[in-house]
């Protein structure tokens, strides 16, 4: 048995993309207000969806490897370049809180009719171009703090993979609990009615929600 199939064709891209886009949209991630409400602690969907997906996929890969269906080094694992990856994560978090999206969710925003997502995408092309033009002087920083190739958490901590997965499941469960408590204290996660209303009605709905909370 040889998994993965390493199929980089058009059909494979379209299939993965359609499923990805459908799931992100169903989660409400075409809405900048729903996405950014994560950081005002009113809506923990970003944390909950992301950690659930990471764990479902990580456990699936673990099972495939344990059954001997997939080799340990069969899938792409990014290598750590500590400073650039930390700085990149910080910039994306900052740009997400300010601009309302990350790259993937901005595509979902565009597909859901959001004009701000189109402008955000133009901004991404500008930012990417800016990076390319300062790439040479940045090269030292870009390569700094390189870790072992494709290092994983089980390797870093010297623990069996199932222990790491178990710890992550427990952390995610605690995060879910705390998140739901904070959501309740702040008027609950944003609903599709609140974020998909036409512009003029959106203000009214927000007002209603604020009144309800008060």
């Amino acid at each position: 048995m040889s998994i993965p199939f390493y199929d980089g064709g058009v059909a494979s891209g379209l299939l993965s993309g359609v499923l990805f886009g459908y799931a992100l949209e169903a989660a409400g991630f075409g809405s900048a207000r729903k996405l950014t409400a994560q950081f005002s602690l009113r809506d923990f969907s970003v944390f909950k969806v992301m950690f659930t997906a990471v764990l479902v996929s990580a456990i699936g890969l673990y099972i495939l490897r344990s059954m001997g269906l997939m080799a340990g080094n069969a899938v792409f694992i990014p290598t750590m370049f500590f400073w650039a990856i930390l700085a990149g994560g910080l910039l994306i978090g900052a740009g997400f809180a300010l601009g309302g999206y990350c790259p993937g969710t901005s595509v979902v925003g565009v597909a859901s009719g959001r004009i701000d997502a189109v402008v955000f995408a133009v901004g991404m092309v500008i930012g990417t171009s800016a990076f390319a033009w300062v790439y040479e002087p940045l090269m030292g920083f870009y390569m700094a703090g390189q870790g072992p190739a494709a290092q994983t958490l089980p390797q870093l901590f010297g623990l069996p993979e199932w222990v790491v997965l178990l710890v992550l499941v427990v952390l995610a469960a605690i995060g879910f609990r705390l998140g739901t408590m904070m959501e309740r204290a702040r008027g609950g996660p944003l609903t599709s009615e609140e974020v998909c209303a036409p512009d003029d009605e959106a203000d009214d709905l927000t007002m209603t929600a604020a009144t309800r909370q008060a």
């Binding site: 886009g21 949209e25 994560g89 790259p103 901005s106 901004g123 930012g127």
Partner: protein, 171 residues
């Protein structure tokens, strides 16, 4: 009277479906899902339209251009798929809403300015991190890569900090 949009899926259901889609992508392709890889290739192409010689000589874009049409790549088809899947989902659930989505105390003009600046920060950051929330955070996290978790810590830390400073943008 407009039909009310269907509710979003619960985060748990959406997360499970997203995780299975990601797992299927690993099985089919050997790598995870992404998004900013397409933006990079599109930016290389856009720069080539404006300044062909300089783009070909550019240390970052040059290799993309040398390999042929930068848009002819798996990630392009995946992003086209995301557009189709998200559109079908939004359409079927009555969740298409053509508007500038903004906080009640932010004007449309300001919202679009923040979207442009935020997009530029994200575009730059995704190149530094060698990927974005999908490629490094989600897909890297699913392989339990140390890089994925360092990225996610940075992402959430800066998100909370900037959101605290800029909370009037959304509230």
């Amino acid at each position: 009277m407009r039909d009310a949009p269907k509710p979003f899926w619960s985060p748990l259901s959406a997360g499970i479906v997203l995780g299975l889609a990601l797992l299927l992508t690993f099985i089919i392709t050997g790598h995870g899902l992404g998004a900013s890889g397409f933006v990079t290739r599109f930016a290389a192409q856009a720069n080539e339209w404006v300044a062909p010689t300089a783009t070909a000589e550019n240390a970052y874009f040059g290799p993309f251009m040398k390999a042929g049409n930068p848009l002819m790549s798996w990630i392009t088809w995946e992003v086209v798929g995301v557009l189709i899947g998200a559109f079908l989902g939004a359409k079927g659930a009555g969740r298409i809403s053509v508007k500038v989505e903004r906080g009640p105390s932010t004007s449309s003009g300001n919202r679009l300015m923040y979207a442009l600046i935020g997009g530029a920060l994200v575009g730059f950051g995704a190149r530094l991190a060698r990927g974005c929330t999908s490629g490094v955070g989600l897909s890297g996290g699913a392989t339990l890569a140390v890089a994925g978790f360092v990225f996610l810590i940075g992402f959430f830390a800066a998100g909370f900090a900037v959101s605290f400073l800029m909370r009037r943008v959304w509230q």
